[in-house]
């Protein structure tokens, strides 16, 4: 029984991390109809930068903030330089470009930082907290993960629902041409969407790094898990990203706990296929008329 609880707790915590990366995917898909397959690698890159900063003696929280800012700028840059030129042409070409970016970033990280697995420090203790007399698989760091992702989600929802900035971003995503006719600088807000996604991706990278084999490829699996989460929740819904993340996290955790960690990606694949076969538009889909 306690194994079940611990596996579940593990799943929920991982799920929160998937949710934050899924949120990045959702933000970009909503704004520009593209799945940014490089989002995980972008988070990896900014985390490597954090690692460099830390090894040079910069305080953890300064490095944390710096890297989130770098993620913001990085996201905006990628949209401006790589994605904007492809606007209007095939919907699939920008996706391929993000795949190219994925391996470029992994290659760069490997070339600059080398292949040796390095550790990444956690901001808080990673040993399990105690409930009563038993230790559970939930540490201070896990609390931090929870808190950070919830703050991110809440901030995103508040931004979109309650601010004029969010209104412009939503309008730019839903109806770009009309919004331009109403004086909205749509291009700017699409870039902003990518920039915010960059922040979410950087956060995910920082949260994963302490618990994994920190190397150029460490975000690959996280990305596909986040993609699964985003699909389950509906690629256009931030709340869906959270829910999808939790579902995916739990599912992966059970597969890993009861069947073995090597089968986790396969479990995710099965989950993704089930989701795509039964409800491809996700749990929180916007009803749209089918264009014939």
């Amino acid at each position: 029984m306690s194994l079940f609880i611990n596996i579940s707790l593990n799943g929920i915590t991982n799920g929160m991390i998937f949710a934050s990366l899924a949120l990045a995917l959702v933000l970009i898909f909503r704004a520009t109809r593209i799945v940014n397959f490089a989002q995980g690698a972008m988070g990896m890159m900014t985390t490597f930068i954090a690692s460099s900063l830390l090894s040079q003696g910069v305080g953890y929280w300064w490095a944390f903030l710096a890297v989130l800012t770098i993620g913001f700028v990085f996201g905006a840059l990628v949209e401006r330089v790589l994605i904007r030129p492809l606007r209007g042409k095939s919907e699939l070409n920008p996706v391929i470009v993000t795949i190219g970016l994925l391996i470029v970033l992994e290659g760069l990280a490997g070339a600059i930082y080398g292949n040796a697995s390095r550790g990444f420090p956690a901001a808080f203790s990673q040993s399990g907290l105690s409930v009563g007399h038993t230790k559970i698989a939930f540490s201070q760091f896990d609390v931090f993960i929870f808190g950070a992702v919830l703050v991110l989600m809440t901030a995103t929802l508040v931004l979109f629902r309650a601010t004029t900035l969010g209104l412009r971003m939503r309008a730019s995503a839903f109806a770009g041409e009309i919004s331009r006719l109403l004086g909205v600088r749509v291009g700017l807000f699409l870039t902003l969407g990518w920039a915010l996604a960059g922040v979410a991706g950087s956060l995910a990278g920082l949260l994963v790094a302490p618990t994994s084999s920190f190397g150029p490829y460490y975000m690959d699996l996280i990305l596909v898990y986040a993609f699964t989460a985003a699909v389950i929740g509906g690629l256009e819904s931030p709340v869906g990203a959270l829910l999808g993340g939790l579902i995916t996290g739990l599912c992966i955790s059970y597969v890993g706990g009861y069947l073995g960690p090597g089968l986790q990606p396969l479990g995710a694949l099965a989950l993704l296929m089930v989701a795509l076969m039964t409800r491809p538009e996700g749990i929180f889909a916007r009803p749209t008329a089918r264009r014939v």
Binding site: I34, L86, L92, G110, P216
Partner: protein
Amino acid sequence: MTLPVTQELSMEKENESWLRRLRLPNQPLARHLIFAFCGAGILFLVTSLLSPFNDYEVGEIALYVVALAGLSLLTGVNGQISLGHGAFMAVGAYTVALLMTHTQLNFLVELVLSIGAAAFLGLLIGIPATRLKGPYLAGMTLLLALALPPIADKWSTTFGGDQGLSTTVPTGPGTINPEEWLAWIQIIGALITLVLLANLLRSRFGRSFRAVRDDEIAASLAGIHVARTKVLAFVISAGCAGLAGAFLGLSTGVVNTGEFPLTLSIQLLAAMVLGGTGSLMGMWWGAVLLVYLPQWSTSLSTHFSLGSGASAYLATIIFGVVLIVVMIAAPTGVQGGFRWMWQHIASLLAGQHATSSSASELSDDAVQSLPTK
């Protein structure tokens, strides 16, 4: 003294038909076979002149052509993107290795079974794939590429674990080098694949593939069974990758999961895009890139005195840059570029000859940029 009109006309006719006979026959199969035999002749000549290591490389190029041709069919002609072709190659490689380790089957039978195993996986993936559009399909195949290799690690006793399983190339006739013999096998495999695919693309299947790519709804209104067409494309494409994987396993002598990382699938995509999505002959360019880029990047990194670890990563970076640049600047790839140049030259020479199709390669398809969905 002028000839009577009828005699003049019949002489003209004779000259004309002699000229016309100079062109290749009109039936696609005959044309493709002629090209294949010429190609085979050239390649056999080349391999007998080259060193064994270079033979090995030529064979590698040939095997990648097989994989790329299948991918080009799936993505360029049928419009389904796959980021997981490394997984199909892995299935082919492991199948041939398992068969060689545990059975005494005939070599050709083993190859056919490898193709079949990969094609079967293609069926399993292709069926749900019919319901998926662009990015969703990309994501699912990406997950496939990551999900399959760990299975071999989990059941390491069967699959050989880190060390992997070994393969043996059957001995060739006479005193031929084993590398040369393997290269011949791979070249023959590539040429057969190209001929079969080229004919397929010229047939009504090819037309169905293209129709489904361009507009699924219109295609189904025209009586094409869309789902079956898409699954067929997947199965064929996976089978090609399986054969390529089996060949790769023979080339390296050992099959283990380290041979099939995610980057392989992405490099296949990059190579296909460079060669020209939708083209068949363009895949030779992509295959050359796949085989030689690691070497070129090694010499580049020694030239610039980068670390020893950097050269492997440099190759990855270059593949990614190639993919990005081609997508932005020249989505029709090398083959598309050639076609563009050829059309320019042809229109400059317009009026002298009708632009004959005899100079076209095995693939007559218009080279496509990636589909819009």
